[in-house]
């Protein structure tokens, strides 16, 4: 890079680096604070002694929540949900996107079907009709409601359609010459070369299903069916948000913050390796699918 070497330019570089490092620390701060609170002892936290460093480090809160059967159950519901949703989404997204990636010449119904998908992505019946539909399907309190309730991941379908459309035509033509049927072409040719976009859509799916609290809150009427985030929402947050100002102030002094912080930290943990290792895929996935040409 041939760049400006003046002293003002150097000064800018120094301040710029310091500023950006501060910005990055600001992104880590809440995480760090939560970790500190969860590791500190209860009374120090209640006394407001824990700011940015743990006081009286111990693992009591982690020990305690490991034996909290409701918490363990909520983690288990979330794990099941994410596993089932990942498998279901992968198969359905791939099988839906592949035919839609064909040209109208290759597959006549393609345009109409694609418009139906886009229309469903842009327009929805709203919360109440959605809830009533799932209730009348008899899916309240079932794991399938958590997996299927949010609907076909249409954004992922469109990402995959765009990706497959831009693959070199020769790839599939060669397979067809050799007499490969559409299923063989899809699973043996298209899927292996679409790993980047499929990894991105899988990441989006996993993150969504792990992080979602609303579907669980609305469709699960029994607390033992709550996924982790709904459980945390109900146990940690609702208490603070439905109170009067006076109660709210008093609650702040009384609540067991360390337990809440430990639960929150455990809910964050799986997300960390996931996003770190799939970074290059989601960056590619986002920029490929949205800023085309």
């Amino acid at each position: 890079m041939i760049r400006d070497r003046s002293s003002s330019s150097r000064v800018f570089d120094i301040f710029n680096s310091i500023f950006l490092v501060a910005v990055a620390l600001l992104c880590l701060l809440p995480l760090w604070y939560t970790l500190c609170v969860s590791l500190s002892d209860k009374s120090s936290v209640a006394a407001g002694a824990v700011q940015l460093w743990p006081v009286g480090v111990n693992l009591n809160s982690y020990n305690q929540i490991m034996h909290d059967s409701q918490f363990v159950q909520a983690v288990w519901v979330s794990v099941q949900r994410v596993l089932l949703a990942t498998v279901v989404q992968f198969i359905v997204v791939v099988c839906t996107a592949y035919p839609l990636s064909k040209t109208t010449k290759q597959f006549r119904g393609r345009d109409v079907l694609m418009w139906i998908v886009v229309f469903c992505m842009l327009f929805n019946g709203g919360l109440i009709p959605w809830y009533q539909t799932i209730r009348s399907l008899g899916l309240l309190n079932s794991l399938w409601a958590l997996v299927l309730g949010p609907g076909l991941p249409m954004f992922s379908v469109i990402l995959v359609v765009n990706f497959v459309r831009n693959l070199p035509k020769e790839l599939e033509e060669a397979a067809e010459m050799d007499g490969a049927g559409p299923w063989f072409t899809l699973f043996r040719i298209v899927i292996p070369v679409s790993v980047p976009v499929l990894a991105a859509t899988m990441l989006f799916g996993i993150v969504f299903h792990w992080n979602d609290f609303m579907v669980g809150l609305i469709l699960m009427t029994k607390s033992e069916n709550y996924p982790l985030q709904t459980y945390i929402q109900q146990m940690v947050i609702v208490m603070t948000s439905t109170m009067s100002e006076e109660q709210y102030k008093r609650m702040n002094e009384m609540s067991n913050q360390t337990l809440g912080a430990a639960k929150i930290f455990i809910a964050i943990l799986p997300v960390l390796p996931l996003y770190l290792f799939t970074q290059k895929y989601f960056i590619k996935g986002m920029t490929l699918g949205s800023v085309k040409e």
Partner: protein, 296 residues
């Protein structure tokens, strides 16, 4: 002949996806007729009495409606502006960093909040901004009396917008950073040979180079004018701040699922879906016209 044979397989492949769409997206659309009924779960959609536009009329007369509509648009427009500008500035500053390692690390850390849920971040924020939390601790060092941040209606929109921008700026910068890598190095070289300072290069090379992306993101965000962010507001608000923090989505949730006013909530939801749909279509139309962008 051969194509017809293939079509059969294609329809078979589409079967599960379209069954999913039918059950969880298309069927609920038919449920929208509830907005024109006095819906009663016992009688169902088919048996409930029709009331025409009554629910909409009632909504228009409701005092809350204006407040909620205003809150929604106010919060979402501020979020849109913040989510366009802050990531842009961040991407531009990051682009000026010369240390590749530092640049990569900062970028990676900045993505993190995007991947955390509002339940988590809401819980953390309520802690951070509580009366004895670190923020008040810091303020007291400057002699400011403790502020009950989430107990004050006047502060709520600012906290909501600020925390949303904080959560998303790193992730939103992806689009700008991708566009920045697309600018040819030779443009910078010739600019510096012409004696352009870095500041001048920013205006003559960098910004023009990513102008399409800026226009595109601006236009597309038009579709979000009614999305003030249910997940966030729901986890941060409380009755004290309803006057500035209650938005269409949270109101629909409370009136429909807590107070069981199904028809009224459906009507409000329908207005939001319909206007939102028009906005997105307009956004896509403009994006296609001015930035040659198509979603498929």
């Amino acid at each position: 002949m051969r194509n017809r044979g293939l079509s059969k397989h294609y329809y078979l492949m589409l079967l599960p996806g379209f069954a999913w769409l039918l059950l969880f997206s298309i069927l609920p659309m038919f449920g929208l007729v509830m907005a024109f009924q006095d819906y009663n779960p016992g009688q169902g959609v088919l048996g409930s009495p029709w009331v025409g536009w009554d629910n909409f009329q009632y909504l228009l007369e409701l005092d809350d409606s204006r407040t909620i509509f205003f809150n929604t648009v106010y919060i979402s427009v501020l979020k849109i502006l913040g989510n366009l500008l802050v990531p842009l500035v961040f991407a531009l500053l990051l682009n000026e960093l010369r240390l590749g390692f530092l640049k990569k690390s900062i970028q990676t850390i900045a993505y993190l909040p995007h991947f955390l849920s509002w339940v988590i971040l809401g819980g953390i924020m309520l802690d951070l901004f509580s009366l004895h939390g670190p923020v008040n601790h810091l303020l007291s060092a400057f002699g400011v009396r403790p502020v009950s941040f989430f107990g004050r209606a006047d502060l709520f929109p600012g906290l909501a917008v600020g925390s949303d921008v904080w959560k998303e700026f790193g992730y939103n910068a992806i689009f700008y950073l991708a566009a920045l890598t697309g600018i040819s190095e030779s443009l910078y070289e010739s600019a510096s040979i012409d004696g352009a300072t870095r500041w001048q290069q920013l205006w003559t090379v960098t910004l023009p180079g990513i102008s399409t992306t800026i226009v595109l993101l601006t236009v597309l965000s038009l579709g979000n004018v009614l999305n003030a962010g249910f997940d966030q507001i729901f986890n941060l608000y409380n009755p004290i701040v309803y006057s500035t923090g209650d938005i269409v989505d949270t109101w629909v949730y409370r009136s429909g699922l807590i107070n069981l006013q199904y028809s009224l909530a459906t009507a409000a939801g329908l207005i939001k879906s319909f206007v939102g749909f028009l906005l997105i279509v307009l956004a896509y139309f403009l994006a296609d016209k001015y930035a040659q962008y198509r979603i498929f």
